[in-house]
Symmetry: C2
Subunit: 396 residues, 2 copies
């Protein structure tokens, strides 16, 4: 048993969300993450709520099992130390605004001369090229400009944001794919390369059938609440107490669904006999289904539907997710231990690989510069006295 | 210049969305995708709308540049041919219900004996282990059970589905990360492995700070419309004609924002002086901002905010996304050519790598079995007469 990225060292210059989420994935795959933080304040996310005992749980949730070194990249000595670290690392990930690394004298063209095997990864809002490359970006800008807000929510209402930072997270995932592919490529060629992933590009990449629906219909798709654009019934319905979802994904499920509802006449109704007709006639169909579902609780319906083989599920709130037996069985809720906040539950690694033992349940989160002695000692050969001097000078 | 997965062969047994989206990413990275389809009907998604000239644009949008062979895995000869193909392939991806491959006699334990270097990848709703492993799944079940629907949309309204298939797509991305990591790992160890990624696990993995907000507050987070849970103002506002978004991500932006609004008194108001206070007092704050924004058009506000350095963006509908200069500059809209539907625009590859030339703009979508002669000829040594016989017997 061994993790795929064992012995891979990642120099992580990222802050906040998209970058740190990506390097957390690399960490779960076995890489050593050297998180480079500004002396004193560290990653901006250390100041983001929610807090317990003044510790940012936001930071905790995406920085487990990383090592932290402090380094001031605005000092000449800090820059030299970074260049030394680059010699020993396989991957560098940064999420500065385009041009910042160049201004620091640490752009890819310089770093690749120092280490031609380096995989240099830039995670940005709009990418390292194009007319809007240098514009500032946050998640909601990517969600808005990338189209997802225009198809999420309810028609004739205010636009709706996806309830997590989809702009950041999607970019993280595409970045992690690129990094792993580049590692494999380096085995073939001996060379690193530059990877450039933007939040906006990543949003466009996941618009999925919305792009072709526009071309088929000639008008931009509208938000559909909780319905699917081309499958029906495939949505949330309300029982007497709560909502639940069903997915009648094909015509043979439709028959079983009608029988489970004890409404065989519905199956005989020719206006609902195919998925296409059910999608077109969703209004009349729902005027039959909605009152029918109101007669029993969500739990009762789920039992009935499950017995009939109809794909269905409760709509879990976060507490229910964290207690879901399947989620727990799969080790998708893990704990991090913090000296101040205590034991905090966060999401586990969804990439289950047969070579990788499941992660230990408790993984610490680093203090700023906690691993200075270890990393600067082993990679740069610096001793206690030198580190004390660098600290006094504000370099680390 | 070379693509990272050049010379990698992928045996793609997947249908519909999560699997085909994953192998499309592998294709963009240079792998050869051998799409194995049921003779006659092929991938279910070939029957999914929207259609142009009876061609499924749904299928077109996620199957560009793949090769298709037809193969009936329920025949003995079909199974033998699959085992022969496995000898020549690096990766197998399947998204059957857990147990199906074993019932066919094609489970991982058997295939790894045939090719120990094989990376076997299972993409499922709930995973290959756990109490609900064998339950049927569709995207909306993962969105509901995984918690995302409980935090997307508007409080005291019906639950809201994210407007694209986030359950499928997120699983695709984590699967692609695992496959690339396994390729690198195989270079180190000489061995393949099994990867098991589920939609439900993948949804939990991206819940992000919602898990820790539950632990800090003791109650499950609620949907917030288009607001951010801990940053303000960071949402959509309506100009005189349309909505747009702004992201005042820190306190120095707050000052510039107030000046851009020509409302310096707002900056002096102590109830809004920090991000934490603005988040807590978002109601009173919005009762000032909303009427102010109603005075000008969205385009006028975007111009003003941009000039002041405030991160902001229009809320693009799909048509606007497809004409966005930054999106076009980054080659995020590419064309596929289809003999019946004509030229169709779909999303490009967001992983920009310096070793990879941008993809040609026109990539064909395969017919069912279009590459039988090429693949079965080159890998299995079958000639025209043998293929004719296999076709007559319904094996291919």
């Amino acid at each position: 048993m061994s993790k795929p990225l064992e012995f891979i060292k990642v120099l992580d210059l990222t802050r906040v969300l998209a970058g740190p989420f990506c390097t957390m994935i690399l960490s779960d795959l076995g890489a050593e993450i050297i998180k480079v933080e500004i002396p004193g304040s560290g990653d901006d996310a250390r100041a983001f709520g929610p807090f317990i005992n003044n510790r940012s749980l936001y930071f905790l949730s995406i920085n487990r099992a990383k090592k932290s070194v402090s380094l001031n990249l605005k000092t000449d000595q800090g820059k030299e130390m970074l260049k030394e670290l680059v010699k020993h690392c396989d991957i560098l990930v940064e999420n500065y605004r385009p041009g910042t690394m160049e201004k620091l004298g640490l752009g890819y063209e310089i770093l690749k001369e120092i280490n031609p095997r380096l995989i240099y990864t830039a995670s940005t809002g709009f990418g390292h090229t194009g007319p809007d490359s240098s514009k500032p970006a946050y998640d909601i800008l990517a969600q808005a400009r990338g189209g997802i807000m225009s198809i999420t929510g309810w028609e004739d209402m205010a636009p709706t944001r996806v309830g997590m930072s989809l702009g950041d997270i999607t970019a993280s995932l595409f970045t992690a794919i690129g990094i792993n592919a580049a590692l494999y490529h380096r085995e073939q060629t001996g060379l690193g390369q530059k990877i450039d992933v933007s939040m906006l590009d990543s949003q466009v990449a996941i618009l999925e059938n919305a792009l072709v629906r526009f071309q088929a219909d000639g008008v931009s798709p509208k938000p559909l609440g909780n319905r699917h654009p081309t499958i029906a019934p495939f949505q949330a319905y309300k029982g007497s107490d709560a909502y639940f979802v069903i997915a009648v994904g094909n015509d043979s499920l439709w028959k079983n669904f009608c029988l489970a509802l004890e409404n065989p006449e519905l199956f005989d109704d020719l206006s609902f006999s195919t998925n296409r007709l059910r999608t077109e006639n969703i209004g009349p169909l729902n005027s039959i289904l909605e009152p029918a579902f109101a007669a029993k609780t969500a739990a009762e319906w789920l039992k009935i539907m499950e017995k009939a083989g109809i794909p269905c599920a409760p709509i879990n709130d976060v507490e229910a997710v964290m207690n879901d037996p399947q989620v727990l069985f799969r080790n998708m809720i893990v704990e991090v231990e913090d000296c101040q906040a205590g034991s905090i539950k966060i999401a586990g690694n969804p990439i289950k690989m047969s070579s990788v033992p499941e992660s230990p349940m408790r993984e610490k989160v680093p203090e700023i510069g906690e691993h200075n002695a270890e990393i600067y000692g082993s990679l740069l050969g610096l001793g206690e006295a030198e580190l004390a001097e660098l600290t006094a000078k504000g370099v680390i």
